[in-house]
């Protein structure tokens, strides 16, 4: 028996992340401007770091309760209510997780198994499909279209639904496109779902990075509240990626069951990160605003830059990504991103890493300094002119 025979077929079937394709090239290079990373360039605001450090100095180095510190769950509950009008009981409807990633994993493992179908609108964040595959369920993708500004349309959702559909994953503001779904955009989706036995896993990790209007959660529709699992966290809004702290909110029946997976596999989210997260929610609205204002300015520079270069780019109103079309160059997304990296030392990610319908696009993140963004846009322009 070969060692690989020990591995489950469904694990072996997971392809390596396509984002990593340029990894070898970048390792040989110096002074690359990376517009490929999906994390804030800002360091965590100092008072949040300080709270984490202080908790260590005080010797708070033990486990927390399984679902997270009560104070943190209360703050999350207040925050969700204040920001998005969602009411979750901090004692029974919230679990603090190891980043939103664990929340996604626990949610999928709680609700889907062999025979179920999970709908993923693509382009999408790369973790959903593999995590669904691991459960044995079947991912069913919907190709979102640039002419719809990469929003999910009700008719496309309807045609993807079958008798086996168990879950719809919604991820807006979206990675990689930067698309958002407003209240008006969500209404027709709610109309499709309200009478169906389909659960929504709503990954709202970029909710604070909404640049026009206010983020609307699908759970804010009363018909959807009990059928939605809301996932959020601290990584993007508070620049806390490395702390690994997120959370999941949902009906107490769901959360009670999900807590079992969380407690047996994870025990609890890191204590130090939870103390830092408490500080984040207590007093960091201003820091979030400062970062968001800066992202918004960079976003405009990038959208303007790509459109002027001749790589059409719809206006993304959320997250920190732009998703310009590179079809006019005649290059595939992979060739484009590899050549751009080799010839100009600017790293972007080929659009098809986020689903086949991302072919012909690239994901470019503006979580980098304005100086680097301006320089990178200059290099992209020169690259296009030389093609």
């Amino acid at each position: 028996m070969k060692l690989s025979d020990f591995l489950l077929d469904r694990v072996k079937a997971i392809p390596p992340s396509a984002i990593r394709k340029n990894f070898d090239i970048i390792n040989e290079m110096k002074d690359v401007i990376s517009l490929g990373i999906g994390e804030p360039d800002f360091a965590t605001p100092w008072d949040i770091i300080e709270s984490g450090v202080y908790s260590l100095e005080k010797g708070h180095t033990h486990y927390s309760p399984n679902p997270g510190f009560k104070e943190l769950r209360y703050l999350i509950s207040e925050y969700q209510k204040k920001r998005y009008g969602l009411k979750y009981d901090p004692d029974s409807e919230i679990i603090v997780t190891v980043g939103a990633s664990e929340a996604i994993d626990v949610s999928l493992r709680s609700f889907v198994e062999v025979g179920d179908e999970v709908i993923i609108p693509e382009p999408s964040f790369v973790c959903y499909k593999p995590l669904i595959t691991i459960t044995g369920a079947t991912p069913v993708t919907i190709d979102l279209k640039s002419e719809n500004n990469f929003k999910l349309m009700a008719k496309d959702l309807l045609s993807a639904i079958t008798d086996r559909t168990k879950v719809l994953i919604l991820s807006f503001p979206n990675n990689p496109t930067g698309a958002v779904m407003t209240k008006e955009d969500l209404e027709p989706i709610v109309n499709v779902l309200k009478d169906k036995d389909i659960l929504v896993i709503s990954d709202e990790i970029y909710s604070e990075l909404t640049y026009e209007g206010h983020h609307t959660s699908i759970a804010s529709f009363k018909e959807m509240k009990d059928k939605t699992i809301v996932i959020n966290g601290f990584s993007k809004s508070f620049a806390m990626t490395g702390w690994r702290v997120g959370y999941v909110c949902g009906n107490c029946e769901f959360i009670e069951a999900m807590k079992k997976i969380h407690q047996y596999s994870i025990m609890c989210a890191p204590t130090v990160a939870q103390y830092a997260a408490i500080e984040a929610l207590k007093s960091n609205e201003n820091n979030v605003t400062i970062m968001k204002t800066e992202y918004n300015r960079r976003r405009r520079v990038m959208v303007d830059g790509f459109n002027k270069i001749g790589l059409p780019c719809f206006e993304p109103l959320g997250a920190f990504y732009v998703f310009p079309s590179i079809k006019s160059t005649g290059l595939s997304s992979e060739d484009f991103s590899q050549r751009l990296l080799r010839e100009t030392k600017v790293l972007v990610v080929q659009g098809n890493a986020f689903g086949n319908c991302g072919e012909g696009f690239i994901r470019v993140t503006y979580s980098n300094s304005m100086e680097n963004i301006i320089e990178a846009m200059k290099r992209v322009k020169e690259f296009i002119e030389a093609l």
Binding site: I19, R20, F23, I26, V32, I37, G38, D41, D304
Partner: protein
């Protein structure tokens, strides 16, 4: 005067930005940004464009002192006249009227400690209205005008995560 503080804040951080760049960042017309800047210059909202330099990395010798000054305000003129007599000296780089235990903070730059000390002894403390001075030399600048001089925070993000 009604001002567009977003333009001013961007320029305060980086005066090399062009009106076109600022216009894109703020979703405003370039012509509006240019006209606003001209207007702010004319009305002395924008007083000048300077460069923040870490002189410790150069071969120029200089010392900076922060001096607490207690003064007797002048009848009819308050603190303004005596402040003016102090800040008109070219050695004085900043001068602020303070609340609290003393009246004026005066920042002085000189080539050497001696030069600064002489200025205080001969020029500042001999002014009629000056009651007393306390001189504090700045030993090291960690952060000035919002800029950290030796920033140890580097972009150490992994190039590719997923």
């Amino acid at each position: 005067m009604k001002t567009d503080n977003d333009i001013l804040e961007l320029l305060e951080r980086n005066n090399k930005l062009t009106p076109a760049q600022i216009g894109v960042m703020l979703n405003k017309e370039e012509t509006y940004v240019s006209a606003s800047i001209k207007d702010y210059e004319k009305h002395k909202v924008i007083l000048g464009y300077k460069t923040l330099i870490n002189w410790e990395k150069t071969n120029k010798d200089s010392v900076t002192a922060l001096i607490e000054v207690k003064v007797t305000p002048q009848r009819g003129e308050g603190f303004d006249k005596i402040a003016e007599r102090i800040y008109l000296y070219p050695e004085v780089t900043s001068c602020y009227l303070m609340s609290g235990g003393f009246d004026l903070t005066v920042v002085i730059e000189g080539k050497t400690l001696k030069e600064v000390a002489l200025f205080v002894a001969e020029k500042l403390s001999t002014l009629e209205s000056v009651q007393s001075t306390a001189t504090h030399f700045i030993l090291k600048k960690y952060k000035d005008e919002g800029t950290i001089f030796e920033n140890r925070i580097v972009d150490d993000r992994e190039a590719i995560i997923l």
